[in-house]
Amino acid sequence: MADERILYDYYIIYEKTDNAKYISHLDFVRAYNRTMRRVGLPVAFSEGFNPHPLLSFALPLSVGYTSGCELLELRLAEEVAEEDIRDRLNAAAPRGIRILSVRRGKSRMKNLRYALYTVTPESMPESVDGFMDMDKIIIDKKTKSGVKDTDVRPDIREIRLLPGKIEMVLSAGSDRNLKPDVVMKAMNKYIPGYDSGDCEYHRTAIYDGEMKTIE
């Protein structure tokens, strides 16, 4: 049955830093729903047996990662001013969650193809040229059907070495997705003598197929 209610679409960009990085994606969804209730925003619920708030996330973030470019879409049952939504959510959000922008309409999250991550390792590799020249980069990767040896080379678009930081552009989305901790594991395995130590992971941007920022 088609949903014939008049609903209002919004999309939100927010950052997840500090202590909030330990909140898993599912826990964040629950906390977010409760925040919406507390601040009294007129959330639209799905119709049916077990109503749930209508919202969708562009790309779940792993536990322990920080991000400056999280994107979610939500639907409200009434129209509310964008700044009003932003201010009410920011006043109620847990430490480490900050709403950067709220806009009306649909986002371009459907076009998501790549994500840019900034990794801060304890020690930097001298070069990644040899690593990037490999035909195949086989690493055991968690998939839906268990841990499998996978060639991750096709999903690494670019790796740049900056002072003390590594930037990497990786496949992102429901179709193909690669996480930077898997890449770091591969670098530790294949770059001779390299030991990264513990790393910090930050999602810096999300892109479409033409590498245009989705925001």
Partner: protein, 630 residues
């Protein structure tokens, strides 16, 4: 005061939000603004402890005081403990990550016996000496409360003091006494002697115990003038006038009871003879619906919770239950919030209400007949008949419910094998009702889940004199019941029998068990409530190493025996419990408090020695309601 850095290890453990803090409504204060730092510990994992109402209440009470900052502490899971020990990170508070050793108080709530080794493990992780006598002037005062504190003796050498009864008022008195003591510049022992004079406080080191040759207790005597020969539990008389949290901390991770809860009353009118809670929380005291609705509105607004539940020992015994439920449903339906009603009784369960409550999702319904035969239900004074159960089950099945869960106990006093077979018969009858009804959909199948626990005799119950079944007997009875079940719609699950026996040993234990606990901890026992961590062989070794016989504690006891917990005055008298045990032997029931006062003794705790059940006001109110409802 210092803080610990746990950023690195949090990346290496499961469920880091158990430890990371920063939850909504957690209280952060400036350490410079407070005089007292109180660490409130729940000796189990975060998701268990955060579900506990008592902790929320006392956290709120303490943090209302401008001079006190109360923070939470939980037992780390195995992986976190390993990382903490490897990195030399001491046990810390969730809010400020301050080492627990630097606090002024470490208060522990004791909800079940199987958490005792967690207390020791937490003290060890905190770097606080395990035994009270080894603690120095700089260590926190380590204290405990909660239901297990009513028999404090198995932990008497570990805790500096215990609080008996409800904490809302006495915890403030303890803080005031602390400020006075600080101003006086006293020593550690001065504070303990000072608070020994407060009603409800027990300081174990101020008492000497002697034993008879047969190992039973000969005497327990105060060794200083401050200690009282009998310690009387504390109660709060008027629940409408006490503080109740208007905010709950909302965790990020999924905890056991992740919802707002309203405490509708304390105590219980029923008097089931196995039930410790039914005795120690007497007398019954109710909150008014007006206050509860106010609590509900505040909690929903401050938490954003999508579920609210009513909390008490027997929710449908609340005098103005229908009125409360109706008004609450008006709120919850509007806000799309679920209402859950645990602890409903079989004999006063109404379907129209349940349908309104569970309009959206039909989860299973749970009933607790506790015993399989009518004779046995009379022995335990459950006051529920087979007809009551069948009527409720018929209503449930006709209303579209498919799953019914039934709770039972085995190993009860005066039990015969026929009573155990009776559990199977009763469960099968319940399943058959589904097919006998013309209101059920026969293309679907019902499911009757029976959950069977081994009975543990508890102090302060009419069965405190009873023998507990040993492991072999319990196992035999578990299998006997398994063989008796012939209906494929009946699903049977039972508890580990060795855990029940250990629980029983500590429930009715004495001071000599302190060394067994310490030994068990040294041998690696902890998280004993978790089957993946529990190891009975280690426990057996601990008892053997200390030369302590478990059977001594599970034996039948005589009426003239002095119990280690007899010095605690819970209001309900030993004499009443003896009479109830005699009635149990004869399978004679006792009416509940609203039908007839049986003179249990709890009324002596109230002003004027009168229980609120029988005050003129409540009776008049009730009569007025009955008239209004025709």
């Amino acid at each position: 005061m210092s803080t610990v850095n746990i950023d690195k290890i949090l990346m290496r453990v499961q469920k880091p939000t158990r430890y990371s803090g920063g939850e909504l409504n957690s209280v952060i204060k400036n350490p410079a603004d407070v005089k007292i730092r109180y660490a409130f510990a729940f000796p189990d994992t975060y998701e268990v402890g955060m579900s506990h109402l008592g902790m929320k209440i006392l956290y709120h009470c303490l943090n209302l005081r401008p001079d006190t900052w109360c923070e939470r502490v939980f037992a780390p899971w195995v992986d976190m403990e390993e990382e903490m020990r490897k990195e030399h990170i001491p046990l810390f508070s969730v809010e400020s990550r301050t080492p627990v050793r630097e606090f002024d108080f470490l208060g522990v709530t004791l909800q079940y016996e199987m958490c005792y080794t967690n207390v020791l493990n937490m003290l060890d992780l905190a770097g606080i000496p395990l035994l009270s006598r080894d603690r120095g002037e700089d260590d926190p005062f380590v204290n405990a409360g909660g239901p297990c504190a009513y028999n404090p003796e198995p932990l008497a050498e570990i805790f500096d003091f215990f609080t008996m009864g409800e904490g809302e008022e006495v915890i403030g008195e303890l803080m005031d006494a602390y400020n006075e003591w600080k101003a006086e510049g006293g020593k550690r022992m001065d504070y303990l002697k000072k608070i020994a004079k407060i009603e409800g406080i027990y300081v174990p080191c101020l008492y000497d115990v002697e034993y008879n040759e047969d190992g039973t207790l000969r005497s327990m005597t105060p060794n200083c003038p401050e200690a009282k020969p009998r310690v009387r539990k504390r109660i709060v008389e008027n629940l409408d006038e006490i503080v109740y949290p208007d905010k709950f901390i909302v965790p990020f991770m999924d905890i056991v009871h992740d919802r707002a809860s309203l405490e509708v009353f304390r105590g219980c009118i029923r008097g089931c003879r196995f039930c410790q809670a039914g005795m120690i929380y007497r007398p019954i005291r109710e909150k008014s619906p007006e206050r509860l609705l106010d609590d509900a509105k505040k909690l929903l607004a401050s938490t954003g919770y999508e579920e609210i539940s009513l909390s008490s020992l027997s929710t449908s015994d609340y005098t103005r239950f229908e009125e409360l439920a109706d008004k609450l449903l008006d709120i919850t339906e509007k806000e799309k919030v679920g209402l859950s009603l645990p602890s409903l009784r079989v004999d006063n369960f109404g379907l129209s209400l349940m349908e309104r409550v569970q309009k959206v999702r039909k989860s299973g319904l749970t009933f607790a007949p506790e015993a399989g035969s009518q004779r046995m239900r009379d022995v335990i004074n459950k006051n529920v008949t087979e007809e009551d159960l069948m009527r409720s089950v018929d209503l449930a099945f006709a209303g579209g419910w498919l799953t019914v869960k039934l709770y039972f106990m085995i190993g009860l006093p005066y039990e015969e094998d026929g009573d155990i077979a009776g559990i199977a018969r009763l469960a099968e009858k319940v399943a058959e009702r589904y097919y006998a009804s013309d209101k059920t959909n026969k293309r679907r199948a019902p499911s009757v889940n029976i959950s069977v626990a081994g009975f543990v005799p508890k102090p302060f119950t009419p069965f405190q004199w009873a023998a507990q079944n040993d492991m072999d007997t319990l196992r035999r009875k578990q299998l006997l019941l398994k063989d008796e079940i012939h209906n494929r719609h009946v699903k049977y699950s039972y508890h580990q029998s060795d855990i029940s026996v250990l629980e029983g040993v500590f429930a009715r234990g004495d001071r000599r068990l302190n060394k067994v606990l310490v030994r068990a901890f040294e041998l690696g026992c902890r998280l004993d409530g978790w089957s993946e961590c529990f190891d009975m062989d280690r426990w057996r070794r601990a008892f053997a190493d200390c030369g302590v016989d478990m059977a001594f504690y599970t034996r039948e006891r005589s009426y003239d025996e002095l119990f280690p917990w007899d010095f605690v005055d819970i209001g309900v008298t030993k004499d009443f419990m003896m009479k109830e045990n005699e009635r149990a032997k004869a399978a004679v029931t006792t009416p509940h408090c609203r039908l007839k006062c049986s003179g249990c003794g709890a009324a002596s705790l109230c002003a004027g020695g009168r229980c609120s059940v029988y005050t003129e006001e409540s009776s008049l109110r009730r009569i007025k309601e009955l008239k209004e409802n025709g």
